[in-house]
Amino acid sequence: MIGQILDRLTDEVRRIWCYRWLVAAVTATLTAAAVAFTFIAPNIYEAWGQLYVSRQTPLSAAAESVSLADLRSSNTYVVQKTLLNDDNLEAVARALEPRRRFTKLELASATTGLKKSVHLVDGGDGFVEIHYTNTDPHRAQAVVQLILNQFMSGSYERSQQDLRLAGAFLDQQISFYGDLISQSQAKIATIRRRWGVIAPDAGGDAAIAPAQPQERAPAELIQLPPPSPPARSGAAERASQLEAKLASLLAVDTEQHPDVVAARRQLEEARAQSKTEVAEIVAAAPLAKPPPAPRRRLKVRRHPAPPPEAAAELAELQRKDEPLRTSYQQLVAKRAAAQMSQAVSGADRAGKFLVTREPARPTVPVGPKRKLYLGVGLLAALGGGLGAGYLRALMRGIMVSPREIEEVIQLPVIGTVSFERAWRTRPPFSGAYDSAHPSTRRQRRLRVNVPIGKAS
């Protein structure tokens, strides 16, 4: 088996050897091309700068749990994505050639070239190196410097812009919830003015609570203490508390969470109890005798007993009022956090990123690796030459061995005739010609064409 493989390999070598001059010519040509390319290729310089991507600055540490900015995503990937985007690279390309007017195609080409030539290296511990290679050392330095500048300014502006957008969004939400609370309070006040709903006071005595209109927007709650909750029954208040609790739980957990299930069950019970109490109040209203009131209260106009629909609406409004207030308070807290984050970001001037090494003008070329290129070029030239010879042999379909001929023709090869030059077997001729010298006679005997008849 191994013998057959070796025979085949030998045949292939012979096949290539038949076109050795072609192999030599192709190899020489490719070698010359490789040598020319290697030594003509210009020097390549590499400029680099270094960024320190801080995971936590002093101010951000102080603002921890308050700041909304994500301080954990500062790695090389984020830098690469934010640094090597098209906008930044286009700005760099324009800055490199300020007098040139780029077309879209040219700008895209320049951007692509920059993207290919800029490499980010993770230096560890938050250090990120920006490398750029070019045949012009001045340009290499300028590109790295521009990229760093673009990145720093872009990062700060982007952070500020994000925080401004977040603040605007929170302001809008606060206004919306303030309107909802105002409308709810207005309805409650209207019902109270009309029906004079009896609410239990702190001492447990029932009194007619005169309704106070609340026309003002609760935005003032930022500075003012939250308004006192309206008087209501104990079950209704408990239901409201449970609803707020359930809303906060649902913001974190799912419906299947045991706390959520328990809160929902308690809420159902509280609602049922509240309805029962309201029904009892409504039923007992005509029969109940009001306690003796002071004279001042006797002057108050007595209201008719509220119908069940009004009582139910009032209970519903009171029930919804508490979650609205809770959401409102949360939005106000987030708005304050956003303002603080903006203050943090502005104070340390994008303190997450710090340029730790400005790019210097390179003086020692980093490439091309001429020895490596030369070696690879020589190997490629040799491979190309051998490939050309082998391809040529295959295309011509030459035969190089008796075994191959027998396989193809299916007839026996009864012999071979080998051509061997005589100089391989003849002793070298050296020195002056001397017919009497023994070596000269020996060579003459070898060279002279001896008639075969005499030889026999």
């Binding site: 003849r426 075969i452 008849g453």
Partner: protein, 270 residues
């Protein structure tokens, strides 16, 4: 006995100036002037490894002699045609080498027939280009075998040059007189072997006609030069034109082979 040698002038190769009679003078002069057969030794010349080349031709010769002794069916196995698929593959070289190798056999005479009418390489090597040859014999009924048969400096080897070129050369080689020529050779001496150096199969058509007269066909291929498609096509032409060819009638020779491909592995260096 009317032998083949009786038609030849009684002139010794080393005694070229000896004159016997007028007719023999002409032949003598022909031989003396042009019939220097030293070039036939080119195969065995010191330009090549003599011992190895000689042994390689001996191997070829043994195969051919074995086939001759195996017996003939219809065709004369002593008539050997040397051909190839395309020109330049070494037909003349193999012809000369075989002739010199057969020469060493006892009681064996070899007639070299130059049937390559395109290049006439064998005639040129033997310096018989301007002499009467095979085409003259085929074209003129009056010529006898002795008129175109030349003795050489090597005992036992005779030559028939191609003769003067003619447009009708292919038709002449295909004529019945060619068969008559080979018949005369056979009846004149039963110990002689005729080796015909012909053109390549794919370059002319008369080779197929010659193959019809040959008892053995030696198909020469050159290493690295013969293309399998051409060899296959040439074999097909011979098979269709010269009757069924089997391995008892046709054989291949790989010429220009490497020393490692030679059947002679341990030949002496000189």
């Amino acid at each position: 006995m009317s032998g083949f040698g009786q038609h030849l002038p009684a002139v010794a190769p080393n005694d070229r100036n000896e004159v016997v009679d007028t007719e023999e003078v002409q032949v003598q002069q022909l031989y003396t002037r042009e019939g220097q057969f030293e070039r036939i030794g080119a195969v065995d010349a010191p330009r090549h490894d003599e011992a190895r080349t000689r042994e390689e031709f001996r191997v070829l010769k043994r195969h051919l002699i074995a086939r001759i002794r195996a017996g003939a069916r219809g065709l004369d196995r002593r008539v050997i045609l040397v051909t190839s698929a395309s020109p330049g593959e070494g037909k003349t070289t193999v012809t000369l080498g075989l002739a010199t190798s057969f020469m060493f056999e006892r009681d064996c005479r070899v007639v070299l027939i130059d049937a390559d009418l395109r290049t006439s390489e064998l005639t040129r090597r033997m310096k018989l280009s301007r002499e009467l040859g095979l085409l003259d014999y085929l074209d003129h009924e009056g010529l006898d075998l002795a008129d175109v048969l030349y003795r050489t400096s090597t005992p036992g080897i005779y030559a028939v040059p191609a003769g003067q070129p003619r447009v009708t050369a292919p038709e002449l080689l295909s004529s019945p007189r060619m068969g008559h020529f080979l018949h005369e050779l056979r009846v004149s001496d039963e110990q002689r072997i005729a080796i015909m150096d012909s053109s390549s199969v794919l370059s002319c058509s008369e080779t197929v006609a010659l193959a019809g007269h040959a008892g053995q066909i030696l198909f020469v291929t050159a290493k690295g030069e013969s293309r399998r498609q051409e060899v296959d096509e040439g074999m097909g032409i011979l098979h269709r034109g010269a009757g069924p060819l089997d391995e008892t009638r046709i054989a291949l020779v790989l010429n220009k082979a490497d020393r490692g491909q030679s059947p002679v592995r341990y030949a002496a260096r000189r």
